[in-house]
Symmetry: C2
């Protein structure tokens, strides 16, 4: 059985055809234009494959509450052509097969859970630290979905006394994303993150904020595995710094069996999103 | 079918016999002594009833990871006779019927979900603000359980600039519990919470901290219902203050359909714990 998967991102759509063992048969990347132009290319790619179902991990915010009339619709986004766009309606119109829809981060988390760094972990959290900060969660084999989708990047944490930056989040100022995303780093130091590589205080502060957030996720979700991805995590020294700070901050209040096993890097390079999108088909409910 | 339920607390054990519709047939409250004295009373109470299964919501911290050798054991607790006590072993020895074990807060949450303020909510969070702060969570009809149990009272939040108190948590200082539990209020103002009733700035700060924490829980779990109980919430004005602050802090980043429906008071008086303990029998897996 062939399954289609789409990682629908704000800058690119990755489309792939694969199976339920994580094998990818074919794959393309399409720059994200308006919905019509983009879906024309998407349809063209899938046309030659007899896919029997389609899984989609989408950028957001997107309404995933099945009780809402706007279910499946992109909500507020700076990309005006996609604002309030009925993504699920379009998918169903273009593909008369079962369609499964979730967030991009949930799909990425499911990909790592099925085939990567989350394998055999009953509860897997996947955090991406990039332009923004987002997270997906897999619990008991399925992606987590509350009444709306989580927006874990926007939790409040304690700003450190020596940090004079007011935060980059347009909604909350100094929420986690406002203090620790790639955008926040760029605004705080007025230079791109990759150019700050040698500046230790930058990464010490970054690790401090990410560790605080991870402690909060541990206290709330008690995940078995926490995967940290995204552009900022290309600073690989962050992993060790974060592990140490998480251990210090938890201060033995909850048992952490092995922090090296708990906090890890992704394993699927850039394919967790599309592999997870395909995985949605056999892990989520049909919509 | 008759089911036994125990709310095993640090100061009292509430034992009840009931059915799977929330009806309570008989109930007693036993002060918590050492394990032997306590279980002698517990056994005596249940002896006259032909209960077919037993559900227990226990104080903690307790090891609920089935992969651990210490599964079912009370961990660190100031109550020395219960420290490292094999609670599940004792329950199984005393009651040769199926036994279901969870945390006290998860049981309370399940009770409210089944029969109280969480009815018909797909995901229900129950927070108790008392001597400490704890929370239980019901997701898709069952109590939530990560690799360990959540300790949601110990998340980090932002301390307000005008608050000079360093926090009462022995592990984290100014975590949520350290800033906003009944103990924290007492230590900050050197007087018991109920005597501060008329002091508006006390409750304004309290609502500020609880609202921040609730925003974090919303961002991570996206619950459909949030129930606030415990001694501190006897200051009923807190509900309105918290709702308003949560709305302000979320700042429309995620949609809150109706904050009065989202953040509510418990409905089962002091019976959510024991009714939820009975509910564990038909909602959780046998252990
Ligand atoms: N080597 C690096 N070191 C630090 N920051 C980086 C590095 N590479 C990219 N970034 C930052 O990561 C962000 C982009 O994250 P990425 O995950 O690639 O994209 P997006 O979040 O938009 O999907 C930018 O803010 C960029 O400055
Ligand atoms: N009316 C009240 N106003 C404010 N605080 C109160 C009130 N009643 C009790 N408290 C506080 O609540 C805490 C006890 O919480 P409770 O839920 O009753 O017990 P526990 O958490 O030990 O199970 C104490 O710190 C007490 O000071
Ligand atoms: Zn934010
Ligand atoms: Zn604490």
């Amino acid at each position: 059985m062939l399954i289609g998967g789409i990682e629908a991102g704000g800058t690119k759509f990755v489309c792939a055809v694969g199976d339920d063992h994580g094998k990818i048969v074919d794959k393309i990347t399409i720059p994200t234009e308006g919905p019509d132009e983009t879906f024309q290319e998407v349809k063209k790619f899938f046309k030659t494959y007899p896919i029997e179902a389609l899984g989609v991990g989408s950028f957001g915010p997107i309404d995933l509450n099945t009780k809402h009339e706007t279910y499946g619709t992109i909500l507020n986004t700076p990309k005006t052509e996609w604002k309030h766009y009925d993504l699920l309606g379009r998918l169903k119109a273009d593909f008369p097969i079962p369609v499964y829809l979730d967030t991009d981060v949930n799909a990425a988390c499911l990909g790592e859970y099925l085939y990567g760094a989350g394998k055999n972990a009953d509860s897997t959290l996947y955090i991406t630290v990039g332009t923004g900060i987002g997270a997906g969660f897999v619990y008991q084999g399925s992606t987590y979905q509350g009444t709306s989708h989580p927006e874990m990047g926007h939790i409040f944490i304690e700003k450190r006394g020596d940090d004079r930056f007011t935060g980059s989040c347009p909604y909350h100022g100094s929420c986690l994303e406002g203090l620790a995303s790639g955008t926040a780093i760029e605004e705080r130091y007025q230079v791109r993150g990759d150019l700050l590589q040698e500046n230790e205080t930058v990464w010490e502060l970054e690790a401090h904020y990410l560790a605080q957030a991870i402690v909060n996720y541990i206290m709330v979700l008690s995940p078995e595995r926490i995967i940290l991805g995204g552009g900022v995590m290309k600073q690989e020294k962050l992993y060790g710094m974060i592990r140490e700070k998480v251990r210090e901050m938890v201060n033995d209040y909850v048992a952490i069996d092995d922090v090296e096993e708990l906090i890890v890097a992704p394993e699927l390079d850039d394919e967790q999103g599309v592999k997870g999108a395909i995985g949605l088909v056999f892990r989520d409910e049909d919509v």
